[in-house]
Symmetry: C2
Subunit: 131 residues, 2 copies
């Protein structure tokens, strides 16, 4: 279902780096880290990020301008994303909840607008930070 089988060199470098990270990464921090692998300019990173988002390999956390690897094998999730964000430690976790995604994917209000995508960000304190 992904539009592209093969990732290009730059896309693969950026994806590898994001997948290894336990936290959301910002474009310029990715840039800094992949310079040794030949990526020199912001645009090279942004292009890779755009493509990776498009094919659902990563997601952008809009409120943080940061990127995380997709943890769902289900490839439709790039059109239906939900995250929980700890406002203290900034830990971000992808929410995988079938009921939630069904509810939101089918959501329709009086506007008559048919949604083909959504992004939901929950904020709070994670277990650790709640203590």
């Amino acid at each position: 279902m992904q539009k592209q089988e093969h990732l290009t060199k730059n896309q693969q470098i950026v994806l590898d780096f994001i997948e290894k990270s336990s936290e959301p990464l910002k474009a310029y921090s990715i840039l800094f880290s992949v310079k040794k692998q030949g990526i020199k300019a912001p645009l090279q990173v942004y292009r890779a990020l755009d493509k990776l988002v498009e094919i659902g390999k990563i997601h952008k956390i809009e409120s943080r301008n940061a990127f995380v690897a997709c943890k769902n094998s289900n490839c439709q999730v790039s059109k239906a994303t939900a995250f929980s964000i700890c406002e203290s430690c900034e830990d971000v976790t992808e929410v995988s909840n079938l009921k939630l995604s069904k509810y939101l994917s089918n959501f329709a209000d009086k506007s008559g607008m048919k949604y083909n995508k959504y992004n939901l960000e929950f904020f709070g304190l994670c277990k650790n930070c709640k203590k």
Copy 2:
């Protein structure tokens, strides 16, 4: 329930401008427009925006880095926001749906995290652009 009764001059200028707009406004376009009213620097706008977001008078559309006036009288909504965004004309509407907000405000998943805030952005084509 709002933390502040009285808006300061800069806050009021910025709020007035946003309330008059039918579309989300970006910080620098606000800046440009309120220069005649004595606001000279980005920081003056950002400070006003921060405060207005904090007290729920406006919301930030994260995926667009833009700001809209709150259309709900209900003041708790700044902690529970939902928008529908047309990807063609960029029209943004605040979604006011009690069922949705109840569902999301009470949402809890296995993470054990207690959420105190969420932001949801739906994307699609509005009635006009669907044609």
